[in-house]
Symmetry: C2
DNA sequence: ATGAAATGTTAGGTTATTTGACATATAAAT
DNA sequence: ATTTATATGTCAAATAACCTAACATTTCAT
């Protein structure tokens, strides 16, 4: 079992994730409904979150604080998880606006940098996993 | 928050611990009843296990495989967790037999070494935490 | 004002966990 | 060869935790 396996192992109930992230169950479920996370389920359909999921939730929280909406967050997070292209299976999804994905991402990243200048200390990517998982 | 805090943070439900340790709920509760572990509880009285707890369960499983009983396991595990004596509060508990604690521990450790010679590969102490927690 | 986005709140149903009792298998002691 | 102790299985009733869905509230941009 490698590090990525460990990070994606479904371990935490929603109650624990609430404490780890200080998000409400309502928020967590809402983000799932908007495809920002996709936690596993038990046989009985209850959510089970991995380190990666919790990490992602912390990032989502951070980006929300900076004023992003679901669509923006999704774009950014999907972007980051695409940084490691193995075979690069080409299949771009269409954005609602008449901007190209690239244009949109550029705008978003600029805005984020702005926010970073005076916003609260940003929780960098992978915070929780770094906290718990050996590298 | 330091490493020991992370290791002792109550995170896992009994269902997850069953999968992580391949013990049944009955076994886990039995070991608790025999004071081999002492997981935290939620407000609603449900068990919440830490990395340390899971680690300990893996050790218990290993020692059971080697033929130890609850009393022997308790002695050994308490021993190991006493290796870091801060102020050494003297308060020895009496064993049922007419052997001193030291004698008993000596016997147990010898038997363990014997078992180690041909038994299955032993899960060393701290296995799970080492697996997940950064040092 | 209107509308959309994010979150709160409540209700009814399902799943997971708890304790306790009794059963079973095996090993140890008599 | 019985008896006794140990470890675990199984079942039941009670409760905690979680699920979805609906409706309410807040905030912010039009």
């Amino acid at each position: 079992m490698n590090d990525q396996d460990r990070r994606s192992m479904p371990l935490f109930s929603i109650g624990i994730v609430m404490k780890l992230t200080e998000l409400t169950a309502r928020q967590i479920r809402y983000y799932e409904a908007n495809d920002l996370i996709a936690p596993e389920r038990t046989k009985g359909n209850q959510r089970l979150f991995s380190f990666n999921d919790v990490d992602r939730l912390l990032q989502i929280k951070d980006l929300l604080d900076k004023g992003l909406n679901m669509a923006g967050i999704k774009l950014l997070l999907d972007e980051e998880n695409k940084e490691t292209p193995e075979e690069a299976p080409k299949k771009e999804k269409k954005t609602p606006a008449n901007l190209t994905d690239k244009e949109l991402r550029g705008i978003l990243k600029n805005e984020l940098n702005e926010a970073g200048r005076y916003g609260k200390a940003s929780m960098r990517q992978g915070e929780l996993a770094r906290f718990f998982i050996k590298h």
